[in-house]
Amino acid sequence: MSMEIKEKIIEKILLLVALSSITVLALITFFIFEQGLPLIWKMGPKAFILGQKWIPSKGLFGIFPMIVSSFWVTFGALSLGIPLGLACTIFLCEWTPPAVGMVLRPAIQLLAAIPSVIYGFWGLVVLVPLVRDYLEGPGLSILSGSVILGFMILPTIISISEDSLKALPPTYKAGALALGATHWQTIWRVLIPAARSGIVASIILGMGRAIGETMAMIMILGNSVKMPTSFLDSARTLTTNIGIEMGYASGDHRQALFATGIVLFIIIMLLNSLAIFLSRRRTG
């Protein structure tokens, strides 16, 4: 009897703890919207989202260049991260001798453990001068940012797509090989298409990571507020806009940064929902 009550109490306590983590999410959401929405209404959602000029001292808050820059940087990161990530995944799943895998897997996990400020610093010291000297412009550019981000999203892409490849029934591979397909044909025509939804989900999660990255991007992108016209241009993404102006903002300016957060929040929510939807479809 008393045992049962104790069980109940423990259960309730755990429930409470679990709920508290969701409460934090709810609180964050509430405060971002509470702080940012008034400004969006005041400006008009269209003027805020599609506005081209961000000059807080003149009361101009248009974040369109930052939305565009966010997607440019993300696109650049994905065009490096996807081929590299997939090649790495395929190699890990299909060809890696166990001994090599023992080294390779932790090494990839370690990529995720490096703090983003270190990526940023490395980019600033090594990559930026290379871009400046061998291409053109200030070096602090979308290109440099994309390359760094491409490496930063590798662990996300590799670990999730590797899981989805491993989750395939072994009969797929055996069947394809038995039908006379080569190893590569099996991978390319059977395994990858079968694991497609998981791989796509991994890419979308990587995309979310890329859009959300702040510290490294503040250091590498150069943060100028204008519409990017080339990959060698400096740019400011949604996250870096918040990060760089947070300290000095007050009044409407501060609210505009929260409003930037709302837009970012919605984009990330959409991406994550898409990833969850895609990865569920596989099992369903």
Binding site: I55, S57, I244, G247, A249
Partner: protein
């Protein structure tokens, strides 16, 4: 049953932990007594230096120096999150109800890479460069290459002062790179031979070259004589007349010893006590 006994035995231990944790928290709070100085990242390194010196003389006092920016510092004073706010710009009209003391003056230097052959710009040239009207070094007599502008972010005290002294009604070009501290600007300019930016004169070092304005070098003599005009106040801001520890610290900062320290760091000192 024995398990039950065990649990009961553990209870006092839990209680003890709980009490210890609370005691620790209370203890920490007591240790936290002291004053908080927050605000401008331009003033911060100097305030840290002063705080260090002050604490070495008053070992029982604590001074916590935080960054955050001029506006954030002034806000913090208003909300009593900080005892003293640091500002690297004059107070705005709606901030005039606060009590501000100029602790020193600081010049803003326009800096370029040491490899850049240019030594001098007129204010008008500087204005045209930073508004994006002059886009190439060729127009200023240097080897042709696009100019890379480096600015502070909106809201920064340094940027606001620069806007006031140099730009006037002109807007700073949107093409410009933006960095969020004096140090970051110095870093970019010291790496890029084609960059131009502005930082606090006290932070100019060998990695960058400070330009003279219409032939007037940014040095102490020219600043004190008023010839070099890109000078802004460093303020300590209080909510009302400073009292207690904050007052003692302010008095120390305005004392000859501390002022000498500031002048060694490249600031222009104000020897007058507050209110005069």
């Amino acid at each position: 049953m024995p398990s039950k006994n065990n649990r009961f035995k553990k209870h006092p231990a839990y209680l003890l932990h709980f009490i210890l944790i609370i005691a620790l928290c209370v203890g920490c709070q007591r240790a936290k007594a002291g004053i908080t100085v927050a605000g401008s990242t331009s003033v911060q390194p100097f305030a840290e230096l002063l705080a260090e010196e002050y604490v070495s003389r008053h070992p029982h006092d604590h001074i916590y120096v935080q960054g955050g920016g001029s506006t954030a510092g002034i806000e913090a004073v208003r909300t009593h999150a900080a005892n003293i706010g640091m500002s690297s710009r004059s107070l705005l009209p709606d901030e005039k109800d606060l009590y501000a003391v100029t602790i020193a003056k600081d010049a803003i230097a326009i800096i370029v890479n040491p490899r850049n052959p240019i030594w001098d710009l007129s204010l008008e040239q500087a204005r045209q460069v930073f508004s994006g009207k002059i886009k190439n070094w060729r127009e200023l007599g240097a080897p042709p290459h696009p100019i890379v502008l480096v600015n502070r972010e909106e809201g920064s005290g340094t940027r606001e002062s620069f806007q006031k002294f140099v730009m006037g009604k002109e807007e700073i070009g949107l093409e410009s790179l933006v960095q969020d501290s004096n140090g970051a600007i110095r870093q970019v300019v010291s790496n890029d031979p084609y960059a131009i930016g502005y930082i606090s004169l006290g932070l100019v070092n060998r990695q960058v070259k400070a330009l003279s304005i219409s032939g007037i070098e940014p040095n102490l003599t020219n600043i004190e004589s008023g010839k070099y005009t890109l000078v802004r106040p460093f303020l300590f801001v209080f909510d009302g007349e400073p009292k207690g520890e904050a007052r003692t610290f302010l008095e120390f900062v305005l004392s000859p010893v501390a002022q000498k320290l500031l002048s060694q760091e490249g600031l222009v000192t104000v020897r007058k006590p507050p209110g005069e």
